[in-house]
């Protein structure tokens, strides 16, 4: 059983790392937004895995419930981010954030 938990945690940590890398290292808005969704998905997977295999036998439904709400908020934020990306493209004809404005 605990091998299952470790497998899920490894997957989730990998997703998290990929997402964090995309947010930090990419200047393209689209890549950054996708990266944030990777981070959210990683958290949701960790919640579900802990709910199924972790010590939370008393709260079996808690993990999936959190995951559901997290994906909803993630979608809401992605919608706002995508709207902003469209505005950025309209202003600048590019999806890249300008890095000069220090």
């Amino acid at each position: 059983m605990s091998a299952g938990l470790n497998l899920f945690l490894v997957v989730s940590a990998a997703l998290f790392a990929v997402g964090a890398f995309a947010v930090v290292a990419r200047r393209s808005t689209i890549a950054m937004l996708i990266g944030t969704q990777f981070m959210f998905a990683a958290g949701a997977i960790a919640f579900v895995a802990f709910g199924r295999f972790g010590p939370g036998a008393t709260a079996m439904d808690a993990g999936p419930a959190v995951a559901l709400l997290v994906s909803l908020t993630g979608a809401a934020e992605l919608a706002i981010g995508a709207a902003m990306a469209v505005l950025l493209y309209r202003d600048n004809r590019t999806f890249f954030l300008d890095s000069d404005g220090e």
């Binding site: 958290g43 939370g56 959190v66 908020t73 934020e77 600048n92």
Partner: protein, 476 residues
């Protein structure tokens, strides 16, 4: 039906929600009245909150706990939001047509902040913080100033969502280690089953990392683009007052309920972060040439100072934190309000352009001086009392070295801010300034904030009693 039995305890939040809906409708039919409607909703929420003093109510099966701590924090958040709204109309630049729905998003963000202050479950903490954050993202993108503005909002959004991701992962670890979603129950489980200490420390680090953005510990360079471009100052003021207060409230509850029983050295972790943030924030603030940037960076130092209170959570830490948050809100509103008001006249927020401020608008110069003194933590204004209590907490918690760094930072900050005050009062003006007539809203906001900064010392007795009440409610 016990779950929904006491939904009326949500009445302040319901006022804000109803107010936001009314504002969104009015934005369509009577766009001039939305700010007033939003202020009415805030006052209504405050009155509704006043009926809930002195009781502890759990709502939705313990997802929210409206205790004394939450009530004290709610009062601070509502006051900060009301003053921000009052000042916000003056921040509209000539030629800028603000969306009339803006006050509605302020109300929804305030709603998120209130919910966050009373959230007692992992899910409710996350959702209410997201409600706050999402509305701030919208607010930051609604008024676009200059071509770089939307880029600033997007950078802010990406960083915000990424820090939410860190927060979520930290919460997942807490859930995984304890098997509980309730913060208090999770803390009890973490204290009793004695899980892997490295994992608990990792969870705390992830949570601190996620909160760092919301507490104002990160240099958000997108805010400091300069005057008349980037994110409007009214949004920055809201984030630096109500947003920071809500984040500290959540982090305080989390630290007390979940981590104070564990065996990891959490005060040591927080002390190191606090020391670095204070020093770095003050050094960065000192090197700035614009008041707006200086205030933004000094926000980092303020957040670091507030974190010092976490070294002594079991005793006076929470009382000190609450008093400090009151001082922080008043100071932030006073300082940013003055900058907004004066920048209308001089069309600049460079420090050297403050020269002659005492001659052109003596009232604003006085307000700025008071706010800067309070920011530095010099007696006898508000910031001094907050910092004194926090230093006391650090010493009581056994972190004398941290208190020494804190005092050194007060000296450093005083040097920097007195320089600005000297420019405003003594330097001879570079150019003639015709003071712009300010609307009543920002006058009221700046006067109220300045009065609060001056008189907080006199009201320390009742204020400290309220803070101790909040602390007692949190510690049971």
């Amino acid at each position: 039906m016990r779950t929904f039995g006491n939904l009326l305890a949500f009445s302040p939040e319901l006022w804000l929600l109803a107010g936001a809906m009314v504002v969104f409708l009015l934005a369509r039919f009577a766009p001039g009245t939305t700010t007033t409607a939003a202020l009415v909703a805030l006052v209504g929420a405050f009155l509704a909150l006043a009926t809930q003093f002195k009781q502890t109510i759990t709502i939705l099966d313990g997802a929210f706990t409206l205790d004394g701590f939450a009530v004290v924090v709610d009062v601070v958040i509502l006051a900060a939001a009301a003053l921000t709204l009052l000042a916000s109309r003056a921040d509209v630049l000539p030629g800028e047509s603000p969306a009339p729905a803006v006050p509605g998003f302020f109300l929804l963000a305030t709603l998120g902040a209130l919910l966050a202050a009373s959230a007692a479950e992992i899910v409710s903490v996350f959702l209410s913080l997201e409600l706050l954050a999402v509305n701030i993202y919208i607010l930051s993108a609604l008024a676009r100033r200059g071509s770089g503005a939307i880029s600033a909002s997007l950078g802010y959004l990406a960083l915000g969502i990424a820090s939410s991701g860190l927060l979520l992962y930290g919460m997942a670890l807490v859930f995984g280690l304890s098997g509980q979603t309730n913060l208090t129950a999770a803390g009890r489980a973490l204290a009793s089953v004695n899980p892997n200490q490295a994992a608990v420390l990792l969870a705390l680090s992830l949570l601190l990392g996620g909160f760092a953005f919301r507490l104002g510990l990160l240099p958000v360079r997108w805010w400091t683009r300069g005057f008349e471009v980037g994110i409007p100052l009214r949004v920055v003021v809201f984030v630096e007052t109500a947003g920071v207060v809500a984040a500290f409230a959540v982090f305080g509850r989390l630290a007390v309920a979940t981590f104070s029983g564990t065996r990891i050295a959490y005060p040591a972790v927080i002390a190191v972060v606090a020391a670095v943030a204070m020093t770095a924030g003050n050094l960065l603030a000192l090197t700035q040439t614009s008041v707006r940037r200086m205030l933004a960076y000094s926000g980092i130092a303020q957040a670091g100072f507030a974190l010092m209170a976490f070294t002594d959570l079991r005793r006076v830490g929470i009382s000190a934190l609450l008093v400090f948050l009151v001082a922080l809100s008043l100071t932030g509103l006073g300082a940013f309000g003055t900058v907004v008001a004066y920048a209308r006249s001089v069309h600049s927020d460079a420090i050297r352009d403050l020269a002659g401020m005492a001659r052109w608008s003596p009232g604003l110069a006085l307000a700025l001086a008071l706010a800067l003194l309070s920011l530095a933590g010099l007696p006898p204004v508000a910031g001094f009392f907050g910092k004194l209590l926090v230093l006391q907490a650090a010493v009581d918690g056994g972190y004398v070295w941290l208190a020494v760094i804190g005092v050194a930072n007060i000296a450093l900050a005083a040097f920097g801010y007195l320089r600005v005050i000297r420019t405003a009062f003594l330097d001879s003006p570079v150019f003639e300034v015709a003071p712009v007539r300010l609307d009543g809203g920002i006058r009221a906001a700046v006067s109220l904030a300045s009065a609060g900064i001056v008189f907080m010392g006199l009201l320390m007795g009742p204020l400290y009693a309220a803070a101790s009440y909040g602390r007692a409610a949190l510690l049971h």
